[in-house]
Symmetry: none
Subunit: 219 residues, 2 copies
DNA sequence: CAACCGTGTGACGATTCAGTGACAATTCCA
DNA sequence: TGGAATTGTCACTGAATCGTCACACGGTTG
């Protein structure tokens, strides 16, 4: 997320080389949008950006629940302390002054990620556009409006969403949602899918039927 | 804890100015001794030290229970990356390359301390609107009027409130409220929830039942 | 085109679940 | 020690939820 295309590419190339999945953004607005929708493990942010500067973005990221805890590394061309100060007080986790070596960047990234990985836990929230599934709160919401559903429906949706993109057979779902080696009819799954679709309304576009195979959650 | 007396003094002066209590050590052995006996909130360590170098000390600190969790900031004269790596791999929490400004040091110190403080303070009081739970006093009040309740009810309410928003299964509650791996019937939880709700009256709007899952405290 | 297969749908009885009142066992305290 | 407070269990009940069925629908296949 930088203003100089080549610099962005360089960073991207190096991070990808190192095995990280990288998404880039051309400006602040895009960066914020992607941060919200993808909730990355780490954000690298250039201070100098068109429109909204890096400080502004960092501040905004910190204010929103979904992005508040994502570590941020700030890139700055000015070595002046004041920039650093701001970066730190804004809650950035680290910073680099340009020019920096790719190796140095990788080290920072590695360090930050390892620090967070220690505390890392399985995802508590799954977000797909306007659909939010909050596991510990046991709440599903669509466009910030909570959707009431039964425990079974919640579990079914969760299992599908956690395996987003992969088709789950009815048998698979019976095992994972109903847990015991159920003596339950596989058609029961259909009924629950129907009820689930009814309840989540527009969000049911995420729930695909794969004829002859099973069901699939799509993003 | 440095090998150059003036530098130590400078750091000490600045930290004290900022209101921190500072202890210094002239060499590695002294540093270790003081770290063990005083268990400070933070250790600033120079890489270059007579006898035992900073890496050695850091490694030793990490090995001992009393000092393992104390955050360490490393100071190094060499900007070479390799040193940084070592510092990081040794588990230092941050580092500074010399020369550094006092202001920069203060920022790092502040940041590290705040990071740890956030994780460390269990709240003594929980307040949700008119409902106040005072942990050390063992008092619950609603609109400033104390509510009489039994120890079990208090614990139950506390556990739920401390995990506000997150659904707790009956089993979870049995583990956390009754503590031992209880042979108690999970339905017992229901009974206590009922009594709790009766006693706290209007405040029971905070106590949600999540059918098929458990109970949840909502704000 | 017609038979077929798999899925969506509406309805309904069966089951599960949490709230409730009662009661015995246990603990607490005077 | 004795009575009161607290605690754990149980059976009962209404309501929510669940599983199943029969049928409708729509695409696929021969």
């Amino acid at each position: 997320m930088d203003d100089e295309p080549e610099a962005v590419e360089l960073v991207e190339f190096n991070l990808k080389q190192a095995g990280y999945a990288v998404t880039t953004a051309a400006d602040g607005a895009e960066a914020l949008k992607k941060a919200r929708s993808q909730t990355p493990d780490l954000i690298i942010l250039d201070v100098m950006l068109p429109e909204m500067d890096g400080f502004e973005i960092c501040k905004t990221l910190r204010l929103e629940i979904t992005t508040a805890k994502i570590p941020v590394i700030m890139l700055t061309a000015k070595a002046a302390e004041i920039d650093r100060v701001l970066g730190l007080e804004l809650g950035a986790d680290d910073y680099l002054t340009k020019p920096f070596s790719p190796r140095e960047l990788l080290l920072r990234v590695k360090k930050i990620l390892s620090r967070y990985q220690i505390e890392e836990k399985p995802k508590e929230q799954l977000r797909f556009g306007d659909l939010l599934i909050d596991l510990p709160r046991h709440i599903v919401s669509w466009k910030n409006k909570p959707i009431d559903m039964t425990a079974t429906e919640f579990k079914l949706l969760t299992v599908l969403a956690q395996r987003s993109g992969r088709v789950q057979s009815r048998d698979q779902l019976l095992r994972d949602v109903w847990e015991y080696d159920s003596v339950i009819d596989t058609r029961t799954v259909d009924t629950h899918m129907r009820r689930l679709r009814e309840k989540i309304g527009a969000a049911s576009k995420h729930l695909d039927t794969v004829r002859g195979v099973g069901y699939r959650f799509v993003e």
